[in-house]
C-alpha cells in the first residue's frame, strides 16, 4: 500500500524527521485559514499515491485565496495517474538551498535492505543510477545487525560530508531506517530531502509503501486509501484477488497466481482476450465460488468463463457446489467450463455432470481454453 504524501509525512514526523508545516484540504473552503496559518503563501499539492504531479500542474505556489480557488477548480473531478484527486495538501513554501535524495528500500533478491542516497535530489533516481552510478550511494543493511546512527555517519563521511550537514543527514538516515523497519515498509523515500537556507534539513516529499500483509501491526494509524471501485470492493468482501483486464471476452476464475497467469497466456494464444482474472486463494468455500461466478460476469464484455482449479488446501466438492449455485442464478447465461483436479475431484465431477456443467478432467488448461473457443465460435 502506497501512502499518500500527507500520510507519509505524518509518519516521517513521528520518526523524528522534519517536514514542512502543512494542512490537508478537501475543498477550497479551507484556503483562507490555511494561508493565514502558513504565513500568507502556500504550496498546493494534489494528493494521489503516484508521482509526476509537478509536470501535470498538480503542484502550485499560491499567494492568495483566488489562486487557490483556481487550483481547486482546475482539479475538481479530475484524476492523475488513474487516481481521482480528492484532497490537496497546503504547505509552507520552503527556502531551499540544496536538494538530496534519500531512501531505504527492500532488497528482495537478498532479503535485506538498501540505503540509497544522492547529492542530486528531486530527480528520477533510477535514471541517475543508470547514467551516473557514481552519483548514487547504495549500501546494503543487514537486517540482523543493530544499525545505529554512527553507521550512517560513517557511510556519509566516506561520501564526503562533514560538519553539521553530516549530522543532519545521518540523523535523518538513522530515523528513516528505524521508522522503515518499525512500520514494516517496503520503501521509504524522501525525494527531495532538502537543506533550507537556514541549514535545516527537511523532507519536501514522502513516498512510503507499507506491506499490505503487515497492516495488522499499523491498525491504529488512519491512512488515506484510494477509493476502490465497486468490483474491487466486492472482491475484497468475498476474499479473492480480482484484476480487471482490458476489454476481453473470457472471464477467468483460477486457483493460484501462476495458474491464473498461465490461463491468461493461453487465452491470448488462442486469439481470445481475458476480461479479468479472479484468483481464489487458498480457502475455497462454495459461497466464495458462487459469488466469484457472479463477480467475473459483471464485466460487460465477458462472454464466457473458465474455472481452473486445483484442490490442494481446497475441497473441489465445495467448489462444485458453488459453481452449480452460481450458474443456476445467472441472469445472463454464458458458456462456462470447469477444469479441476485434486482433493475430492470425483465428487466434484459427479455433481457438475449432474447439472450439465462441462468438465475437463485433465491437467490441460489448453483443453478448457479450446472448449470455450469452440463455444464462442458457435455462439457467433
Amino acid at each position: 500500500m502506497q501512502l499518500f504524501e500527507c500520510d507519509g509525512k505524518r509518519l516521517l514526523k513521528e520518526w523524528g524527521i522534519a517536514v514542512p508545516k502543512g494542512l490537508l484540504l478537501t475543498s477550497a473552503d479551507g484556503l483562507p485559514d490555511a494561508l493565514s496559518q502558513l504565513g500568507g503563501k502556500a504550496v498546493l499539492k494534489i494528493q494521489v499515491p503516484t508521482g509526476k504531479r509537478g509536470k501535470a500542474g498538480g503542484i502550485k505556489l499560491i499567494s492568495n485565496v483566488g489562486e487557490g480557488n483556481d487550483f481547486f477548480k482546475q482539479w475538481a473531478g479530475k484524476s492523475h495517474g488513474g487516481y481521482e484527486v480528492e484532497s490537496v495538501l497546503a504547505e509552507e513554501p520552503l527556502a531551499i538551498s540544496k536538494e538530496f535524495y534519500m531512501s531505504v528500500v527492500l532488497n528482495a533478491r537478498e532479503g535485506n535492505f538498501f540505503f540509497i542516497f544522492s547529492a542530486e535530489g528531486g530527480v528520477d533516481i533510477e535514471e541517475t543510477s543508470r547514467q551516473h552510478p557514481d552519483k548514487v550511494l547504495k549500501v546494503k543493511l543487514d537486517p540482523a545487525a543493530c544499525i545505529k546512527e554512527f553507521h550512517f555517519r560513517n557511510i556519509l563521511l566516506e561520501h564526503g560530508y562533514s560538519g553539521s550537514l553530516l549530522l543532519s543527514l545521518s540523523n535523518a538516515a538513522a530515523n528513516l531506517y528505524k521508522g522503515f523497519v518499525a512500520a514494516n515498509a517496503l520503501l521509504a523515500e524522501i525525494n527531495p530531502l532538502v537543506m533550507l537556507e537556514d541549514g535545516t534539513v527537511m523532507a519536501a516529499d514522502a513516498k512510503i509503501e507499507i506491506d499490505d500483509s503487515a497492516k495488522f501491526r499499523l491498525s491504529s494509524k488512519n491512512f488515506l486509501e484510494v477509493k476502490a471501485d465497486e468490483l474491487e470492493r466486492e472482491a475484497k468482501d468475498i476474499g479473492v484477488t480480482y484484476i480487471k483486464l482490458d476489454e476481453g471476452n473470457v472471464a477467468i476464475i483460477a486457483s493460484g497466481a501462476g495458474l491464473s497467469m498461465n490461463t491468461m497466456d493461453l487465452i491470448y494464444e488462442a486469439g481470445m482476450k481475458p476480461a479479468n482474472f479472479l484468483e481464489t486463494g487458498g480457502g475455497i468455500t462454495s459461497e466464495l465460488v458462487r459469488r466469484s461466478v457472479h463477480l467475473v460476469l459483471k464485466n460487460e464484455s465477458a462472454r464466457a468463463v473458465i474455472v481452473n482449479l486445483y484442490g490442494g488446501v481446497n475441497s473441489l466438492l465445495e467448489a462444485a457446489k458453488g459453481i452449480v449455485a452460481g450458474v443456476q442464478e445467472l441472469k445472463r447465461p454464458v458458456p462456462l467450463v470447469v477444469k479441476a483436479l485434486g482433493n475430492q475431484q470425483e465428487e466434484c465431477f459427479a455433481l457438475l455432470e449432474e447439472h450439465n456443467i462441462p468438465v475437463i478432467k485433465s491437467y490441460r488448461t489448453e483443453d478448457a481454453v479450446a472448449y470455450i473457443q469452440r463455444q464462442l465460435e458457435v455462439a457467433k
Binding site: L106, A108, R109, G111, N112, E126, D142, P143, A144, V181, N184, L186, D211, D212, S213, A214, F216, R217, T241, I243, L245, D246, A254, S255, G256, A257, G258, L259, S260, M261, N262, M264, D265, Y268, E269, P274, F277, E279, G281, G282, L309, Y310, G311, G312, V313, L341, G342, N343, S362, Y363, R364, T365, E366
Partner: protein, 288 residues
C-alpha cells in the same frame, strides 16, 4: 535419494490441531509421510490422527527426534513459530502460510541462514518427494516418481507442469514450491545445487513467473550446474504495474517481464519452454 524430504525425514506439523493443519496432516500421512508429531502450544498430550501433539518444537525434537517441520499457523504467528523451529535445531522448515509480512520473512530467512536450516516458503505449496511423502498441501496424486527435479514459484502451476511431465513418461525426484512472495526463505541457487548433487535427479524444470528476480538468479547460477535446466515462465501477457495474485508477481518498468527473463535464461544456457506443453519435448531433447 531425493532432496530435502527423504526417507530420513522425521517431520512434525506445527499448528496440527487447527482446522487446516489437521486435514493436511491426514493427507500427508495418507501418502506415506513420516509424521512423528504435531506441535500446538497448550495442546500437549492430545493426538491428531494418531500423531502425538507436543507443546513445543523442542519437546517434539527431544521425544521424537524430529528433524523437519511443516507449518500451518496464522500469518501473524508464523515468524515466531519458524524461529521456534530454528531454535530447536530443525533442519528443514516448510512455511506454508501466505500473507506473512515481508519483514518477518526477512527475519526468519536471516535466522535460518545463521543456523544453517533450510527454510522453504513462505507462501509455498510445500515439498513433495513422490513415493516418500510430502510436507505441504500439494495433492500427492498429481505426481509420479521419476528423475526430474521440479522447482516452482506457483503451487497450482507446478501441478499442471507435473501433469505434462507425467504424460511425457517421466516423473519427479522431488518437487519444491519455492514460494510466491517477494522474499523467500531459501535461494533458488541453493535448491538447484542440491538437485545437481542428487544422484536420483537427471535434470531440473524451473517454473517461474513475471516479476521478481528468481529467474535471473537461476540464469546466474547455471554456469555452476552440471545438469540441464528447463524453464517455463508464466505471465507473458501480464500487464505492467499490476500485482498478479502473488505478492512477488509484479512487473515494474521494464523489469521482471517474461521476455527479459527468457533472454537471460537462454543466454545462460537454459532450455526455455514458451508453452508448458513444450516441456516434455525439451526433457526428451536434454536426455539425448
Amino acid at each position: 535419494m531425493s532432496i530435502l524430504l527423504t526417507k530420513q525425514t522425521r517431520a512434525i506439523v506445527q499448528g496440527i490441531t487447527g482446522r487446516i493443519g489437521a486435514i493436511q496432516a491426514r493427507w500427508m500421512l495418507e501418502c506415506g509421510t513420516n509424521i512423528v508429531g504435531g506441535v500446538t502450544p497448550g495442546g500437549g498430550g492430545k493426538e491428531v490422527h494418531g500423531v502425538p501433539v507436543y507443546d513445543s518444537v523442542a519437546e517434539a525434537v527431544k521425544k521424537q527426534q524430529a528433524n523437519a517441520s511443516v507449518l500451518f499457523v496464522p500469518a501473524a504467528y508464523a515468524r515466531d513459530a519458524v524461529l521456534e523451529a530454528i531454535d530447536a535445531g530443525i533442519g528443514l522448515i516448510v512455511c506454508v502460510p501466505e500473507h506473512i509480512p515481508v519483514h518477518d520473512t526477512i527475519t526468519i530467512r536471516r535466522s535460518a541462514q545463521q543456523k544453517g536450516a533450510w527454510l522453504i516458503g513462505p507462501n509455498t505449496p510445500g515439498v513433495l518427494t513422490p513415493g516418500v511423502g510430502k510436507m505441504g498441501i500439494m495433492p500427492a496424486n498429481l505426481f509420479k516418481p521419476g528423475r526430474i527435479g521440479l522447482i516452482s514459484r506457483s503451487g497450482t502451476l507446478c501441478y499442471e507442469v507435473a501433469g505434462y511431465i507425467n504424460e511425457g513418461g517421466y516423473g519427479q525426484s522431488t518437487v519444491i514450491g519455492i514460494g510466491g512472495d517477494m522474499v523467500r526463505g531459501s535461494d533458488v541457487q541453493n535448491v538447484l545445487s542440491e538437485f545437481d548433487q542428487d544422484t536420483e535427479t537427471d535434470m531440473v524444470v524451473v517454473v517461474g513467473e513475471v516479476g521478481g528476480v528468481m529467474e535471473e538468479q537461476v540464469a546466474e547460477c547455471l554456469k555452476h550446474m552440471h545438469k540441464p535446466v528447463i524453464t517455463y515462465i508464466a505471465g507473458q501477457t501480464a500487464p505492467a504495474g499490476k500485482k498478479m495474485g502473488h505478492a512477488g508477481a509484479i512487473i515494474q518498468g521494464n523489469e521482471g517481464t517474461v521476455e527479459c527473463k527468457q533472454n537471460a535464461l537462454r543466454e545462460a544456457g537454459a532450455l526455455v519452454a514458451t508453452r508448458i506443453a513444450d516441456i516434455p519435448e525439451l526433457i526428451g531433447r536434454a536426455y539425448k
